[in-house]
Symmetry: T
Subunit: 148 residues, 12 copies
């Protein structure tokens, strides 16, 4: 099974920024940890990170051709990018939305994600662990669908 | 490790009601499945379900004395019960909020949960699988806190 | 035909409270009058009244097993109890919502009932007469459905 | 006893339009059914239907001179015609508002009727049956007022 | 100088309706009083009253050909009839809006008149006197414009 | 192919009113121009204009019997007439909404048309040209539906 | 009869400021014109102008002792000074609110006056003429009340 | 004089929860302190605490039979329980609302209490002292009413 | 202990205005009653009343030098004067907000006080008694802070 | 005459995505069809599609140098990209906004386009036909402006 | 060049109040620092501070006679004083609004200044430095206007 | 000292677009002027301009490594780009927001900048001068921080 882990703007600064909210793990560390975790689930993970809305959309379109599942943390775009939402809705691969922090406990503009209604599910507030749970979920969904 | 799985109003009708949204699994089936899953994680699960707001509050207060984690699906109370929110905030046990369906993709009154800001994390849209992931998450949180 | 007439919080004070709005009839009087009226329609009426949201939910769940129709006046819960709404939606018995007073002519918080969208119909402003009309309506619905 | 049954815009298309919501009964059929039903209650029914707001207002003013009760389904005008509301409020004949469909379960603009606060009562969601119940209600109100 | 005094829906019931708000003067009385008052100002007054929005619009269009001023009390249409507003804006005759009652002291839907922004001025709360003041104002405006 | 071109309130003043917004073309000129244009498309155009909401509704109902397409400019009614919206929705003839001006660039109350959601399409901001494009569109829709 | 004409902040700049809205008349000119006009109505006018909210309140309290009517143009305070509103409501002298410009046709914050609901009437959009009409109105009110 | 001191959900955790807001006093301590204080005022205090909305309603109904005053801290129910509000309004005993913390200085959902409009008075922000002041107030009210 | 009792606009009319809401006590009477009450608590009370926002601000600044507590009834300024709020927040003396009437039961603009969030506590609905309770509260706060 | 046809995010998936809304035509097909159609109008069409907001802005800036008209379907950016709006407003080439679907009949976030107020006109709900009508419109505008 | 530096309510407490937000500089210190800074720019600075809205308005009116520029920090009045806004708009001297703190990063009621739309420019968040920059700006504006 | 001057979308059209708002200065001219001005302050300025949100984010991240201050005019992104806001918040270099025009005096969507709360300060309405003042401010901030 192949999964795209797609991170949005400012997640490249993970570990350097707002460490009280996001923790000390860098993006590189997080990706390495996921790689390791995925192997146990027989998943091959591809990790990408982009600052641009258009790049994220193109990445989702592209994954439509090769991935069986997507873990998406679109950062602040989650709260207003209807273009990204359309991209998620347009593709046939299941997408699970992840946020490191509990977005409902932060500034009002973060309470609503415009992506959630078109995702298969949503996990937030659980830090890096959230990405791992999303891998578990996609693996389970995939197993259900492909098992006779 | 001991965990309370607490379900709110109308979840006793699981499997009989809105099966296109909630699936055919009954509450009994769900609880049995969680029991089985928990054993593998070395967790002892206690399952409760109540229709009353006050009963759910009392159950949370009580769990404060014996549980190391709580999985909470408060049903429709999630959207307006500030009394339940206060109960979650008042206790020192970490609570993970679970919803079977993707609440952001349903009626507007379900888009916001007043409980989320005081929970450790939130998982929704993944059906019964969500409860299992919540157990995983609580187990991982517990392991982190109690390991030296 | 068996029908549940279910009254919510503060309706036990009928006849003692706000008599300019609700009239001098006590709940006991109202129930007796309905009993008498029902007999003529060949309906057996069971009357219940509860102050608790959970109790009302349980009563609706229970009626799902034995009633062919429900007349529901949920009092002030009508304006915010999404848990009660879920209960009405979850059961397969038709529910007719009744209010003694014209709720649209009173305080703004009473203008909207969150139960109405999931009820078969709604009658308000007609006092005790409204309950009788609801019995008529349920009887007619039942006759239509069960007649060949 | 004489009663005006007044229908507003687009109700002339009953039975041809949105039959999943309004059913297959034509306006002519509905009026015939009411005529028949009214006879049993010793009521003489006059049925009118207009597309124009001004015509509906004039009809209400006129009925003030000869009717003892009015059944009013003002169609979409219910949701914004404060002029019609003033007409209802201005006359001394009791008016019962009827809607065929459950307006609270449809588009948001139909959730609120500006007429309701000045009507004696409101019945909706019960199809043609609602008009019959309204006749019953007006008959009962009249009997109460005119009996010693 | 020729002036149109145009009254909208339900003003034909003046003196019969809500006498605590509108007083005991009938529309006929009001018009007679204005006639008498106008003579002193060398104004010829034409009085019209319509229930229909379209009739009011047509009357305004027509007055564009013969009147030098218009006194308009559009009743409840004032609060939502953008079609009437367009008619007032479309004609070149100055229009003064009059309301018998203090619309700001009544129900919220009466607080805003959508006609006011396109009228030359607005007088309300002063009963029948308001119409007389409007005649004075139009006469003064006319004198200013036509005097060298 | 037969098409109704239906204009609403104040459009009879075209060319006399707000010429910076609507231009110098009179309604008669516009209708003549459309007539000429329609001939080339093998369309027979019938033009009507009414000030009254009820008249517009009746015209739409009537066209249901003879027209294969409708071009509708309901003027200011577009922004609040849910009765007109119901009429458009009730008939089976495709309706294209046209506005001469760019309604989104004018007063806030003009930004939203309550008719648009039930029309086949909408063209605005292009002046008289918009009516011609609407004829083209209806002709194309008709050709598609009736061609094998 | 004695009347207070009370002007609020920035009206001392009349004739120097926004002359396209307020005209070229100075406050002194306006007051002189009113003096002259009042004489004909057998009214003695006292004119005051203050920039401070407290001063305006004190002036109203004081007038309660000697005036039979008040013409009030509170300038921008009209739109938020609930303290001034309380002062108008607290005194027993009738107050007529006047605005030189058509406040409904200007910035949104000027559309609502918090004073209007507690005034006897309101005149706006008619420039200096509005003050004269207000004197007429107060004189007529006074004559009605004091005539047998 | 007999007074009911009625506490709502989560107040049983007083002294254990959010001590920076609510202080270290336990509910037992608070009740003891009130007992002692009441004696000096010749008041007999009965203290109750419930988690359930229905239980609080029943307690208020019951007190209607024996208490001359009620001190009510309904906890988070204060912000949405219209059922509780109806109960307060339905009984004839004066109720004083108390909150330990300054609810206006906390989360927005706590700024409004739906109970306040039907209570005799409200005291908040003064901690345990607020309960004592409420006893004083009820005693004074009682003395005024019962003294000749 | 020295306490400032500061009253805002229109409170000088106490006893003359809206006696159904505020009672027949004059401000002078109220102040005399407080003087007497304060003596028993060993408090020296200074009473001031101003109509101007600036005067109230200056009075608060001044009291910062000599008072150990402030009882503030800012009248209608309570609902919009952020300048007064800043003054309360800027000084180090505890302020207790008092309102004679139950502001939550009156016009919507009175439901919110912008001062409350920066006051030590708030008492309203209890008439003159509220001022006395505020003195008690300040005395208790002072005793707690100054006792070892 | 040269025209830019500019499509925004996710329009590259046309024919693969939401075919019930957008139809089976691919973007390539659409562009070919427009090419063919344009030739008949003596227009040379250049088609571009971008996922990025910045790329769309750059494309508009660039077209300012060579195009005489622009057909713009900015996809979901239409609903929030004020940067794109500024770009449309900044250039001197007329832009016609096109949407394939009837955006007013879909999710609320699609009801408003922030681009419309600065476009020359808007056509939506007419599928691929809408692009053709836009070419017609631009050609007519161009002919008017360049003809003597 | 002569400039008025006008400070509003509570700025007299600078250095004593909320020092984490406003710093330790007193108003006297700030004014001295500005004096010194102004000399270098060949500006003569007059500093005033008032608590009253009316006093600030009068000061602006007065400055209209002698100042070539105004630096205005109206404190909390900035957020609601439309009377002050009218004063700024009424005078012909350019006004630059200054705030010591970043008002957008504080309580919601401080996010909007009703004065900004009528000021020449706005500087906030830069402490005392903001006043100096405002002097620079006014000097530059003045130089531009008076230079040939 | 090294400073990044970063301009967002459409600022490359400066001098060509909306010259009544932005003036005739081109971006190149502006940058040259700033270069010259910076030299006097011993600042080395690097100027960049991007249309893309992602490019602006990357530029801010990059500047974190070499700049001691940033002047940011993000154009229309200021009003909705929470991704850009996160970038500003994530870096440790102080950012001063500049707008050429007075954004509070333009369309409502420009009144609020989502960037302001995380910037050190904000200057708007002062044209090109605003950039110069921002350089002054950053220089002063830097001097304060680095001086002993």
């Amino acid at each position: 099974m192949r999964i795209l882990v797609l991170n949005g703007p400012n997640l490249n600064l993970l570990g350097q920024r707002a460490v009280d909210i996001y923790g000390h793990l860098s993006l590189k560390d997080l990706e390495a940890r996921l790689d390791e975790y995925a192997v146990k689930l027989n998943i091959h993970v591809t990790c990408q990170q982009f600052s641009g809305e258009g790049q994220l959309i193109d990445s989702l379109h592209d994954a439509n051709g090769w991935a069986q599942g997507i873990v998406l943390n679109a950062g602040a775009y989650s709260h207003y990018s209807y273009a990204l939402r359309d991209a998620v809705e347009a593709i046939s691969v299941p997408v699970i939305e992840v946020h490191l922090s509990n977005i409902s406990a932060r500034e009002p503009f973060r309470h609503q994600s415009v992506l959630t209604p078109v995702c298969a599910g949503c996990i937030h507030g659980l830090g890096a662990l959230g990405y791992e749970l999303a891998l578990n979920a996609l693996e389970a969904l995939f197993r259900t669908q492909t098992s006779p």
